[in-house]
């Protein structure tokens, strides 16, 4: 990676500001990100619903589907980061490009570990760029991960899981608001039986569709911020400008 080609402003930021920059990144590139999101979420949700259907003997099938949808998040994260890591260098990835990249992401980004014992890592999105983009393995990767300080990542997962909760309740609240008032009570009673479970699956699908890109982008920006700090990218760009000024001997305007 070279800081010259970045399309995000290189400066050292506090953790919160890096997180905010990640949110701005999603706003700036949402079309490409959601095209890629559809590429991965449609098969995943088909898989989850199939599992739900097949395991639905005791009426708990949809819960298995919901858990699978949640469990596969590291897979979606990789696809999103693939698009983002190119977007920050000014490249756009079409949905076909995303489709072509998926086999490589499945095999070479530590996905197996991410789906097993690293699934509960609170630094998931912050560490993902090291796994997926740096191309280092074994001892070297462990050293790289140690060098990165994940304090911002803990805040990020706290905030994003809170946002997931807020939006989940918000969706339920919105549904209740839109129902005719006399039926609210009966719907609430209904809420804890079968029909609500199917709705809960689609509510969660909607919620992660909103939150997951922000989570991955903010983790990626925390990572870029750390590298800027540790490797002096902002100094590098400043020194280049200064060197050019000295070489041409012009006073700055």
């Amino acid at each position: 990676m070279s800081p010259d080609a970045l399309t995000v402003q290189t400066r050292t930021r506090a953790h919160w500001e890096a997180i905010d920059l990640g949110f701005a990144l999603v706003q700036a590139h949402w079309r490409n990100l959601y095209a890629a999101w559809l590429v991965v979420i449609l098969p995943a949700t088909l898989l989850a619903l199939t599992l739900a259907y097949l395991s639905n003997r005791d009426g708990k099938g949809i819960m298995y589907g919901l858990v699978l949808l949640w469990w596969l998040k590291p897979l979606y994260d990789r696809v999103l980061l693939h698009v983002m890591s190119r977007a920050v260098f000014g490249e756009t990835v079409s949905w076909r490009g995303t489709l072509r990249a998926i086999p490589g992401l499945l095999l070479h980004s530590g996905l197996f570990r991410a789906l097993t014992w690293r699934r509960f890592s609170p630094q998931r999105s912050f560490r993902l760029p090291t796994w997926q983009l740096e191309g280092v393995t074994g001892q070297a990767r462990r050293r790289r991960l140690r060098a990165l300080n994940g304090r911002g990542a803990i805040r990020l997962i706290f905030v994003c899981s809170t946002f997931e909760t807020i939006l989940s309740f918000g969706m339920v609240g919105l549904l209740l608001m839109l129902l005719p008032p006399e039926s609210i009570l009966s719907h609430l009673k209904d809420a804890f039986v079968s029909s609500f479970k199917v709705a809960s699956y689609f509510i969660y699908l909607f919620v992660i569709t909103i939150i997951e890109p922000f989570y991955v982008a903010a983790g990626f920006m925390l990572y870029l911020n750390q590298r800027t700090e540790l490797e002096g990218w902002d100094i590098e760009l400043g020194f280049r400008t200064l060197a050019n000024r000295l070489a041409t001997q012009q006073a700055p305007s």
Binding site: T12, G173, G232, R240
Partner: protein
């Protein structure tokens, strides 16, 4: 294309431009949570010792107090405490009007009354969605009241330089260029020695001739001669000399 950043530059009528660093949903949600906890403590503190002995009358007073605290806590703090409620202050945030001036009574009242819309349907879900969609991270109240929330604190950087001798600058540098040298010097302890050397070498005119964008060959010749004169002025670009210049810039002798 301008580089992606969360900074908005505002031109004042006096021709001064100020940079505002927008705050996104993540720190703002945490600030809200802190304020919410503080308000809860305030309610509890009023209710238990003073009002509970008064029975129904006390309960009436209590309801009036909670109403006043809920609606005027943010307004009073935003107007009288530099745009920051205690929660915002803890996160280093402040409310300003769109044009960068301190928030007025009417703007603060408007943005806080509009919380009744932002908090719909549950847990401020509308406000959160609005911040996700708006490029300036505004919730609905901010859009109506024409206010923004910004990061006020500067990211903390250790400006203490390692002790040693100071070197006077042999060439003229602008104040921002001098700041850059100091920033580099302050960062040296956290950079690897190789990286520090690499960064310092960017300033070395002998090694850096290729870096001038758009230089014609004819210009390059003139530049090399300039560099000769420049070398006579003995602007050293090794790490230790730059550190010495930095000490001189910050006033060590």
């Amino acid at each position: 294309m301008p580089l992606l950043d969360t900074v908005r530059t505002i031109e004042t009528p006096e021709g001064v431009s100020i940079r505002l660093r927008l705050a996104g949903p993540a720190p703002r949600a945490l600030a809200w949570l802190l304020d919410f906890l503080i308000r809860n403590v305030a309610w509890g503190a009023i209710a238990t010792p003073f009002l509970s002995p008064l029975g129904d009358f006390g309960f009436g007073i209590y309801l009036i107090c909670t109403f006043l605290i809920e609606w005027f806590y943010p307004v009073l703090f935003e107007v009288y405490s530099h745009g920051a409620t205690p929660g915002k202050k803890a996160l280093g945030l402040a409310v300003l009007q769109d044009d960068g001036v301190p928030v007025s009574w009417s703007a603060s009242v408007t943005r806080n009354l509009l919380r009744v819309v932002d908090l719909l349907p549950l847990l401020y879900a509308f406000g959160l969605c609005s911040m996700f969609l708006n490029r300036d991270f505004k919730r609905l109240g901010d859009i109506v009241a024409k206010t923004i929330v910004v990061h006020r604190d500067k990211p903390k950087l250790p400006q203490k330089l390692p002790p040693g001798h100071a070197l006077p600058l042999p060439i003229w540098l602008s104040s921002s260029e001098q700041q850059l040298i100091v920033a580099f010097a302050a960062r040296i302890p956290r950079l690897t020695p190789d990286r520090a050397k690499e960064l310092a070498q960017i300033l070395d005119p002998e090694k850096n001739n290729a870096h001038v964008p758009g230089a014609t060959p004819a210009m390059s010749v003139g530049r090399v001669q300039n560099n000769r004169q420049h070398t006579n002025a003995a602007f050293h670009t090794d790490v230790d000399s730059l550190l010495g210049y930095a000490r001189h810039i910050v006033g060590e002798r």
